[in-house]
Assembly symmetry: C2
Homo-oligomer: 239 residues x 2
C-alpha cells in the first residue's frame, strides 16, 4: 500500500472519529468521509477564505479550531462563530459575508457542494442531523448576542471560557483548559479591546475563580464562574 493512501486512511479515520464522537451514526459518518474531499492544514492568523466570495463547498474541522469573522467598515473585527473539531460549515449559495481563519493549527476536509448535496438528499437521517446542528449553532449565536448585548465585560469573558471548556470536552470545569485564544481574539469574540480582556483575566484570577499558567486555565471555582457568567450549558446540546 503506497504511503499517501495510508495517510489518507489515517486522516479520514480522524474525521470519522470526531464526527461519531459528536453523536453522528458511524454509517452516516462514513458516507461523509468517503465523499471526495481535500485535506488542508492551515495556520492560525493567516486568512483562509475571504468574505464576499462564493462558498459552494462543505468544510469539516478534523482537528483544531476555525473561526468565522466579519470586518466592519472601520476595520474592527468581530468573530461571529467558531467551529471545533467535528463541526463544519455547510455549502452556501451566493457570496458568504464572512471570512474564515484558524485559531490554532487546524486540519480541514473540504468537499464540493455538488458531491455533498446528493448524499444529504438521499439520507433523511443526515438531513435531520444537520438540521439539529444548525439549530445548535443558532442557539449559540443567540447566546453570543446576549453576551455582547447584555452582559458586562467580566461576564462575557467568563461565559466564553465556560462555553469553550464545555465545547472542548471539559465537563463541569474539571481539569485544565488549554485556552486556544489570544486575548485579542477573545476581545474579537466578546466585543471589547484586548487591553480590557487582560484586565478581566487578572480580575478573575485575583477573585480565585481561575488560575493561569501561560495559556493553561484551571477552573478553581467553576460553579462561581458559571454563576458570574450566567452560563447554562443546555444550549450546547444539539436539538
Amino acid at each position: 500500500m503506497p504511503r499517501l493512501s495510508m495517510l489518507m486512511d489515517q486522516t479520514s479515520y480522524e474525521l470519522g472519529d470526531v464526527l461519531t464522537r459528536g453523536g453522528l451514526d458511524p454509517d452516516l459518518s462514513n458516507k461523509l468521509v468517503e465523499m471526495p474531499q481535500k485535506i488542508i492544514d492551515i495556520d492560525p492568523r493567516r486568512p483562509f477564505r475571504d468574505a464576499g466570495v462564493e462558498r459552494d463547498e462543505v468544510i469539516f474541522v478534523a482537528r483544531g479550531l476555525l473561526s468565522k469573522f466579519r470586518t466592519d467598515a472601520s476595520g474592527r473585527r468581530q468573530i461571529v462563530a467558531l467551529r471545533f473539531a467535528g463541526e463544519g460549515i455547510l455549502p452556501r449559495r451566493g457570496e458568504a459575508d464572512y471570512g474564515l481563519q484558524a485559531i490554532v493549527p487546524t486540519r480541514l476536509h473540504v468537499g464540493k457542494a455538488s458531491d455533498f448535496d446528493p448524499i444529504v438528499e438521499e439520507n433523511p437521517a443526515l438531513q435531520r442531523y444537520f438540521i439539529r446542528l444548525i439549530q445548535r449553532e443558532t442557539a449559540i449565536g443567540y447566546e453570543w448576542l446576549v453576551n455582547c448585548g447584555r452582559r458586562d465585560s467580566t461576564a462575557r469573558v467568563a461565559h466564553l471560557l465556560c462555553e469553550t471548556a464545555e465545547r472542548m470536552g471539559i465537563r463541569n470545569g474539571s481539569g485544565v483548559l488549554t485556552n486556544p485564544f489570544t486575548q485579542q481574539q477573545i476581545a474579537d469574540i466578546t466585543g471589547q479591546t484586548s487591553v480590557n480582556v487582560n484586565r478581566v483575566f487578572a480580575d478573575l484570577e485575583r477573585q480565585g475563580l481561575i488560575a493561569r499558567k501561560g495559556r493553561e486555565v484551571e477552573f478553581v471555582d467553576w460553579e462561581e464562574l458559571r454563576r458570574l457568567a450566567s452560563f447554562q450549558r443546555d444550549y450546547l446540546r444539539a436539538g
Copy 2:
C-alpha cells in the same frame, strides 16, 4: 358559504400572499397554506411563548412583527431575532431557549410539526427554500453580532433603522418608515438603555439624517445614514 369559512379563506390568502411576495413559488406556498393550522392574533408586549418549553410547531407571521428574546439571569432582556410578515419559525426538537413576543399587533399561523415535516420532506424545492431562509437568518444574526460587538451606539441604532426599513419593503430609504419599535425595544435589540437610544435618535435628527413625527421616521439623508451605520443590504438577500 358560512362566514367563518370565508374568513378563513381571506386570512389564508393573506399568508399565501406574503409568502409569494417573499419569493416562494405560489404552488409551494399553497402547500403550506393548506396545511392544518391555527390562526392566532396576539398583542404586543404580552408574552406569547416562554423560554424553556418544547416548540414542536411551525409559526408563520401573516402580518405584524414577532420577536425572539432571551432574558439574562440579571433580568436584562435581549431581542435576538425578528420575524416580519412572510417569515417564520421552524419546529425545534427540544426546549427552545428563547421566548416569543409581538412588537406590534400580529397575526400568526401556527401548525404542528407532524403536519409540516412531511410536506417539506416530500418537496425538495421547499427544503431548498427553507435552507436559504435559514442562511439568511444566520447572516442577519451575524450582522447583529457585529452591531452589538463592534459598532458605537449611534451606528447600532442607525443600522437597525436601515435594516428595518429594508425588511419592511422601503427601498433606498424612499418614503417614510412607520417605526414599529418603542425606544426600549430598540435598546433591547442593540444592547443599550432606552435613555441612550433616545439621545441617539435626537442626535440623528439634529444631524439631519432623519426626521421624526411621532413613530414615523423619514430618511432625510439615506446615503449618509447607511455610511454611518456601515449598512450593506446584501446580507438581507436570501441565499
